[in-house]
Amino acid sequence: MVGEAEPEIEGRRIAAEARDRVRFEEEALALADQVYRVARRLVGTREEAEDLVQDTYGRAFRSWRSYTPGTNLRAWLLRILTNLNLDRGRKVQRTPDMLPIEEGDYYLANKMAESQGEQVLDQDRVVEKLSQDSIVTALSSLPHDFRDTVVLVDIGEFSYADAAQILDIPIGTVMSRLHRGRRLLKQQLAEETIG
């Protein structure tokens, strides 16, 4: 009699696992648009972003058992994605000694005030003087390590702690890359827009 009970238990286990799996897949797919938004700004082209997101979901669907239900699934997916992006090899990487001298956080605002007068900063739509193309270009030209952090926090709206977990770096490193990345971004926008 004991022998007959086992297949039944096994059957229930399989059914429960199938339900968990379907739920995981549905939750992951519901986040696809948000995952794509981050992916799109981490790589240069739409095609690369699509490939990266597909590879991410392929891997996620295969290794869904390693996800702990109730934890941040979006962060879990982004961790796979940023690892895959690293694996793809980032051949062109500017070395830190080639970075421009770093200006302060007020640099862009100061440049605009210098060229158009301090009062320009009181205009509600002053930032719209920056072209949308220049913003996309400036983001994509950030050194990879800085870009990853800026994109996760400023586009993906992850906390410092989540970004640290996703990139597997200490929180202090997230902060310094984020601050330096944003400064570089503003510097480039200032150069492109104001000259």
């Binding site: 797919l29 794509y36 739409r46 597909q54 295969r62 007020y106 900063l121 009181d122």
Partner: protein
Amino acid sequence: MSHGPCDACEELLQGYLDRELTDSEVGQAESHLDGCDYCRRRYRFEVSLRQYVQTTAVERMPVGLMEKLTQLRTEQ
């Protein structure tokens, strides 16, 4: 121009916008911003810049990608 307290405010502002400062740092930033037009303008500028960068940088998922992802699911 030299801005001693403004330099300190400039240093704190990113963390302030990220809501990652300690209570005493928040107090320091806010009491400076209350009394300084120069920094308040730049604070408002940073707020709009972030918003603008985010809206500009967001590109929606291409049509068809969701279907490809769904296929990955059923193929497994």
